[in-house]
Symmetry: D2
Subunit: 312 residues, 4 copies
C-alpha cells in the first residue's frame, strides 16, 4: 500500500522477538504485530533501532520484515529500516525491503564514516533514486553521530527526495524550527515529521508533528493511541496526563545494572521483558552480545507494568 501523505499517527518501532537460540521468532513477531494492529496503530516500523536491526543478519532482517508485512496484510503501511553504513549498502537493503513488501524506507545518514552535509544530502538523493518507495530520513545522532539539520533536510523535503523525517534526536527545539520552516515553505501537508521523543509526545504534537514512533508503544500501544487522540481533539491536559503516565512507565527501560550491561541493552531488554510478562512474546532474549536482564531487573519491570495498570 502507498502510505498516506503526510503520514500521521502512532507508528511503533517494532521489537524483533528472538528464540532462545537467537533466531527470529516469527510466531511472536506476528503476535506482536497483531496486538499493535488491534490496538489501532497507524503504521508499523520494522527493522529500526528498537527492532535490533543492527544486530540482525541480512537473512534475519528479511524474515522479520516479511513477517511484519504478512501480519499487516495491508491494513496499515509498513516502514522498513535499512540500517547500514553507507549509500550502496543501504540501497541493497532498500531493494530487498521493497521485494519483501515494505511500503516505505527509513534511512539514516552514513555512519562509521565521517560525512559532510553535502555528502549526506547526496546520499539521500541517491537512495531515493534507487527505489520506488517513499523515503524517510532517520535522525538518530546517538547512533549515527551526525545531526540531520534543517539545512540538510528542508531542501530534500522541498524537492521530493524525502517523504518525512523520523526524529530520534531528542532536540525538540530544532524540530520546532524545522516544522515552522516546513510550513512556511508550504511543505506541511506533504512532509511528515514523526517524533521519537516518546516522553515528550504531547509537546511534540502541540508543536505540530504529524506522528509518533514510540519504542514504549510496543508495550503500551493503547496509551500512545489515547495520548494521540487527546492531542488531535485538543484535550491537551488529558494528553499531558497520559504522557506523564507513560513517562513513569518508561522507567522499565532502566532496570539493568549499569556495572554489568549497557543502557541500550537495558532498554531493549526491558521492552522485551515487558512483552514476555504480558504474554505477547515467547522469549525475552535480546540479540548477542547484549547482556540479558537479571531476575531482579525483570521483577522491577513487572512492578512498573503493575504500577501502570497493564497487568490487571
Amino acid at each position: 500500500m502507498c502510505p498516506p501523505v503526510p503520514l500521521t499517527g502512532v507508528i511503533p518501532p517494532m521489537c524483533t522477538p528472538l528464540t532462545p537460540t537467537g533466531d527470529v521468532d516469527t510466531r511472536s513477531l506476528a503476535a506482536l504485530a497483531r496486538r499493535l494492529l488491534d490496538a489501532g496503530v497507524h503504521g508499523l516500523f520494522a527493522l529500526g533501532s528498537t527492532g535490533e536491526a543492527a544486530y540482525l543478519t541480512d537473512a534475519q532482517r528479511r524474515t522479520a520484515l516479511e513477517t511484519v508485512v504478512d501480519a499487516a496484510a495491508g491494513r496499515v503501511p509498513v516502514l522498513a529500516g535499512v540500517i547500514d553504513t553507507t549509500t550502496a549498502r543501504m540501497r541493497d537493503h532498500a531493494v530487498g525491503a521493497a521485494a519483501s513488501g515494505a511500503d516505505a524506507i527509513v534511512a539514516t545518514a552514513p555512519f562509521y564514516t565521517r560525512t559532510h552535509p553535502a555528502e549526506i544530502a547526496d546520499h539521500f538523493r541517491r537512495l531515493r533514486a534507487g527505489t520506488e518507495l517513499p523515503l524517510f530520513a532517520y535522525d538518530i545522532p546517538a547512533a549515527v553521530h551526525t545531526k540531520l539539520t534543517a539545512a540538510i533536510v528542508l531542501p530534500l523535503a522541498a524537492d521530493g527526495t524525502l517523504a518525512g523525517l523520523k526524529d530520534s534526536s531528542g532536540q525538540v527545539e530544532e524540530a520546532r524550527r524545522l516544522l515552522v520552516a516546513a510550513r512556511d515553505r508550504g511543505l506541511g501537508e506533504r512532509f511528515s515529521v514523526l517524533t521519537g521523543s516518546e516522553m515528550a509526545v504531547d509537546g511534540a504534537l502541540l508543536a505540530g508533528v504529524h506522528g509518533v514512533v514510540p519504542g514504549l508503544g510496543n508495550v503500551d500501544p493503547h496509551g500512545y493511541l489515547r495520548l494521540y487522540a487527546h492531542a488531535r481533539a485538543g484535550r491537551w491536559a488529558e494528553a499531558a496526563a497520559e504522557q506523564d503516565r507513560l513517562a513513569a512507565l518508561f522507567a522499565l527501560t532502566e532496570t539493568g545494572d549499569p556495572a554489568r550491561m549497557g543502557g541500550s541493552s537495558s532498554a531493549l531488554g526491558g521492552f522485551k521483558a515487558a512483552l514476555h510478562l504480558l504474554g505477547v512474546i515467547d522469549c525475552p532474549a535480546t540479540a548477542a552480545p547484549q547482556v540479558p536482564l537479571e531476575a531482579a531487573a525483570v521483577d522491577r519491570v513487572r512492578k512498573f507494568l503493575d504500577d501502570a495498570g497493564l497487568t490487571a
Copy 2:
C-alpha cells in the same frame, strides 16, 4: 526580597550591554531592565551565559549585578549567575552576589575539571551551605560538558539544597521525567523547574515546568509573556502559535557568517543588535574576543524584527 516558592513565570536571562570600549554600559543595562519590568516579567536573571558573564571580570560582574538590582528595586526577584570553574570560586561569587543584593544564586556543576556525580552533589551542598540565598542549579551541558541528571538533582531538591533548576540542556525528555518524579515525591510546590528551551516553551509548560528563562525574551518579552499567559489559561493552540512566531524570530541568532565567527558570538551579537535596533541599548558590542556581526548580518536581524512586527 525572597523569591516566591516555587519560582514561576518569565525570567529573562539579561544581556549585559557594553560600551564601545568594553565597559559595562550601566545606563543601557538599567534601560533594558526597566523595559523587561514594564513588560511584566516575573524575575530577572543577571550574569547568565546570555549575559556574557563568562567574559566579564569580577569588577564588571559586580557593576552589572548592582545595576540590575537597583533597577529591579524589589519589584521582582533578581537571580545571579556565579559562573566559575569550581566550588570555592563560585562560593566567592555567591558571597559577592549576596552583598550586591541578589535574591538567589544560579550555579552550574564544576567545569574545566572532570567531576563525578557524587562530587557534583557535594558541590551544590557546599555552595548552599556557603550562602543564605536560595540556590538554583544551572544545567547547561553545551558549556559545562556534564548533564545534571535526575539522579543528581532529585535528592538535592528533596533535602532543600536546591530551590530549583534552570534547564538549558535541551533534553526535554529528561526534564519530563524529572518533573514527574518530583511531583511523585511531593516536591512540585517547592522545587521550581525553569526551562531554557526557548523554542519549546509551550510543550515545556504543558509538561509542567514552572517558568521559562528565554534569551530571546530580552528582545521580545511581550511574546513570552503572552505565551506564558495563554498556557496558564489552558489556551494551548494560542500558546503554540505564539511559540511558532518566536521560533521564527529566533533566526536573528544565526545571522553571523560561520566562516568568520562562532555560533555563540552570532547569537549574542544578534540579541544585542536587535536591542540596539529597537533603541533599548546604546551600543551592540559583544565582549572580546567575540567577532562583531558584519553590517549585512545586522540587516538580517532588522528584517527578522520587521517580520515579527517588533519595529512597527
Copy 3:
C-alpha cells in the same frame, strides 16, 4: 598462510580502486598490491577504513578481497576487515573472508549500538569462536565511538581470543600502557600491537609496537619500510627524519575544500589522486556519496608528491 606470531612489519591498509562507474577496479587493485609486495611490505590489510569498506556492498567487498588474496599469492598474509555494526553481521563477513582466502580477520567493537565493555569482550569471543582465522581487534574511536581500553583488550589477549590489535585511536599513551602491561603478562611475543598512528611511527616503534598499518603506505611504501628498518636497527635519528618527511607528505590528505567536502573524503581522495598521478591506478574516484577532489586540490597533491621526491 598462517600469519607470523606475533605479526610484525609494515602492513598497509589498502585503498580499493574504483572504476568511473563505481565498480571495483580489479586490475588497478592487483597493480597496487603488486607495487606494495615488490616494495617489501610484510602483509596486506584489505577492506579497512582506508579501503572504503564501509562504502562497498557485500559483492564488492568479496571481489576486492579475492583480488588482493590472488595478488598476494601467499607471499605475505592478507588481513581482511569485517566492518559492520554487530557480532552476527561481522561473523557473516568473517565466514566469507575465510572462504575468499583471507589469513586473518580485523574487527571493531560493535557500533551504531551503544555497547558495554562486558558486551564488547563477549563480542570478540563470539567472533573468535565463529572462525578459524586469527582475530585482530580494530580500535578506531573516530568511527566506532568506543575506545578499546586495556581493561577490555588484555584479558582477550591473555586467553587467546585476540592475536593482536590495530590501534587507530591516536592515543599513544594508552598504547604505551597496554604494551607495558602485555609484556608484564608475558604476552609480548604472541599479541601483536600494530599502530595506525602513521605520523608517529618512530615513537610507536620505540615504545615497542610490533608493526604499522599506514594509509599513506599506499602512496609511499618505501618510506615506511625505510622507517621500519631504521627503527629495527636502532637508527632512531634516521627513523625520525624519515617520519618527518612522511609527516610532511601527509598533507596530501588535506587538500579538499572543507566548505564542500568532508575530511574523510579529502583524505581518501588524496590517497587515490596520488596513486593515480603515480600511475598505479587507472581512476582516482572515491565511492559515492563522497565528493571528488577538485582540480586545484589534485594539483596540490601533485606538489606534495614532488616535494617528497616521489615523482622523479
Copy 4:
C-alpha cells in the same frame, strides 16, 4: 628571570598541597619546590590543572604562586597558569601573576563559551598585549573542549604572540605535524613545544619536542630527568626503558573507586598520596568537592611506589 628561548627540559606542573582545612600549605609547597629544584628540573609550572588551579580561589592562587616564586629564587623560570573562562578574566590573572613574580604565563583557549578559531587567535593576541611576560598556549581539550590546531598556533608562533605550547592533548600526530611545520618556517629555535603526554615522552623527544611537563614528575622527578638526559644523549633504548618504568608507575593515578569518585580526583589524589607517603607534603588532601582516596587506594599507591623503587 627571563625563560630561555626556546624553553627546554623537564618542567613539572606542580601539585598544590593543602592543609586539612583546605588552605594552601605553603610549607609543603615550598618543600615540594625544593625537592624538584634539587633534582634538577629546568622550570616549575605553578597553577596548572595538576595544581588544582581550577579549585583555588584568587587569594589561594596568589599564595601558591608566591610560594613557588620564592622557593625558585631565580634558579629556574616559574610558569604560571591563568585558568579562567575568557580573555579579560585571564588577563586579570596574568597581571596578578606578573606582580607575584612569575616568569611566563600559560593560558588555554576560552572555555565554557564556544569560540571560533579566529576568536581564539584574537584571544591569545589580546592576552599577549596585556602583559610583558612570555605567553605559552595550553592545549588541553579534555578540559577546554577545543583543540588548538596547527592552523591556530603556527601564525601565533610566527608573529611572536606565543613563546610556546604546552600540549596536553595527547594527539601526538598533530604535535608531529606542528613540529615539522614550525621547523619548516624557521621557528624551531624560538617556539617551544612542551609535551604533557607523560607516558610517551621518549617518542615526543624523538619527534623533536623541546621539553616535558609531567604531572608524575611531582612524584618521580629523577625518572623524568634521567629519561630526558638519555634522549638528549641519543640513548633511545635507555630512554624507552625509563619511560616504560614511569608508565607502570602512572598506575598510581587510577587507584580510586570509579563508583564513588571521578578519574581526575583519583589522579590528583594519587599524586598527593604519593607525595605524602614519600614525606614531601604534610597532608594528602585534594580540594573540595573532590572525594578523597579511600585507605585501600592509598595502599595501592604505596605498592606502586615500592614497585618503582621510590620508597627504598
